[in-house]
Symmetry: C2
Subunit: 354 residues, 2 copies
């Protein structure tokens, strides 16, 4: 197939550090190429890919993260190249504007849009219109079930390359937390759990946004002590080293996160995940096998005490079987093939473009 | 001609209070209908127009002013109706996403986009792409000259309906200021000028945004005294009463504003405008005839002292001849006719849509 992948404009693909969506797109582009497809990747300058790279944008300025001008400029530049070119399918990961421009193509070529964000009221309204002309893919069953008012072309879990994560079954006596500094991610709960479990805690945090820094200063910093090590902007190697050696990851998620890539990263290293039954955590973690789904701080502390019942091999195997980039690439390939072979007027009844 | 007018989504058309672009669109839609055109207006619910109204949106929530979801949802809904309908020309006043969706139609039907904002670096980059497929209209020569890297279909000044503004040549001894609470609009300079001129000052201010309120509290409020009257959210009638009775409007603009509708409102009431040679003020105010263009506070004070040399009749006449809604409507009509009669492949060489 001739496939156009449109990345968001915020970071190069793959991202040097933060940038979950860009990481997914990097693996998809390379993975689809290695499976014999002809892939063009629309992404920021500075990207590195096995696909044909088209970079409408200069290397992005981190200050512009989320800027609407940049979002629209990137998406419009990509769609102007796509419209009239000979793609079998367009796979759009770009922002709000990208899905709208994709809709205006009215199915010619077909556009698949992966939903990377949570459902807000405004997102529901927007995608109700978009879904008339664009094939939506959810990244978890949880995300799909949270909005059944739109049709889906499928659910394809995010995936990581297990080869990039060192497996380790000889654990050290500490816990690890990775997440932004926001109440949604529960960093203060992680600290409470570690203290009550009597274990040191390594925290890898993102606190670059003013709101994150403010929450950190106000709510998290006062709880720190000598048993807590704080890291920021760590390299992939450093992150994997912490994940691999930790007894468990504490991920006390407090909002319906549509996926949660870091849980798969921990499991790939053979590290069980102690989390809460919120969002996609219930799909990612097999309770009692690759971690625990806990409803209270007491439960979280209890789970940490018994986490050696979760074999590192089971954690690793779960990622290899369910959340690997290879599984993800084949998942999208199947979605694309269904859409392409169903022809221009497909079963979802999109009207043909004039 | 069959004309589609796309308003921004933020306020109904016409706007109950604040909303300069919505006011312009209201007059254009009604004016084009009265000149015999078949006009469809895409605007928020609650709009009141002589055109056929299509409202993809519920009455807007002021909290969502500037929200990207709303901007894109409104523009996409409009363009999905437009694409495939039988319009001769689309006239787009919507935001960043609207101009991008218009570009993706590639000139079929032709899209005219009015530039309502200032030129930022990101705006320049965006419109460099958009201008390949969309006819841009500037609202002042100043705005056009600030970016000569894109082609323009014309310059059409914003216009107001003189019938809505009471002419008054018997002036009271006070000055009037209207503007947002921001350093760009020079409210503290206006206060300084009024004090040194020995005249009371009536201020009509907008300070609803947090940054406006902060600037007001910090920089403006400490300067207030008994000679300064502050108004907020005034009715049209109250605004016109203040404008009509004032000896002059003090409008010490400190940034290159692309238009400045309030200057035309003052002149329509027969009130001269004492301002600075910034942005479109140099086009709107005829120096020494309908006001003064001043380079310093001393000059502004001096101008206020001699403002009776500017005849109220000349101020009124300037608006009637140059900045009336009728002049504006005929200006756009001429732009549309040039584009429509030049055919699908027009002189600017837009490629035909497939």
């Amino acid at each position: 197939m001739r496939i156009a992948e449109i990345a968001p404009p915020w970071f190069p693909v793959p991202p040097p550090a933060y940038g979950g969506v860009e990481l997914i797109v990097a693996q998809l582009a390379d993975g689809l190429v290695s499976r014999g497809h002809d892939v063009t990747l629309f992404a920021s300058a500075g990207s590195d890919t096995a696909a044909d790279l088209v970079s409408p944008l200069e290397p992005p300025d981190p200050v512009l993260l989320g800027n609407e001008w940049l979002d629209v400029h990137h998406a419009l530049s990509a769609y102007l190249e796509i419209d009239g070119a000979d793609f079998d399918v367009v796979h759009d990961h770009s922002g709000i504007a990208g899905s709208a421009l994709g809709a205006l193509l009215r199915g010619d070529p077909p556009v698949v849009h992966t939903l990377h964000g949570p459902w807000s009221d405004l997102a529901r309204r927007h995608y109700a219109v978009v879904a008339r002309y664009v094939h939506l893919v959810a990244i978890s069953e949880t995300q799909r079930n949270a909005n059944l008012d739109v049709p889906y072309a499928g659910v394809v879990h995010n995936g990581i390359d297990p080869g990039q994560y060192r497996f380790c079954d000889a654990k050290d006596d500490f816990l690890v937390y990775i997440g932004r500094a926001t109440p949604d991610k529960g960093p203060t709960i992680a600290i409470d759990v570690a203290r009550r479990a009597g274990l040191p805690l390594a925290m890898v945090v993102k606190r670059k946004e003013p709101s994150e820094q403010a929450y950190w200063d106000e709510a998290v910093a006062p709880l720190l002590n000598d048993d807590i090590e704080v890291h920021e902007s760590v390299s992939h190697e450093r992150k994997v080293d912490l994940l691999a050696r930790a007894r468990a990851m504490v991920f006390p998620i407090q909002w319906p996160e549509p996926f949660g890539l870091v849980m798969t990263e921990a499991m790939a290293c053979g590290t069980p995940v102690v989390t809460c039954p919120e969002g996609a955590a219930v799909e990612l973690v097999e309770d009692g096998v690759t971690g625990y789904l806990c409803n209270s701080v007491d439960d979280l502390v209890h789970a940490v005490a018994h986490v050696d019942r979760c074999p590192p091999e089971s954690c690793r195997a779960r990622v290899e079987h369910c959340f690997s980039s290879d599984v993800m690439v084949r998942g999208y390939e199947a979605v694309f093939e269904r859409i392409v072979t169903s022809g221009r007027r497909d079963s979802s009844g999109f009207p043909l473009r004039r």
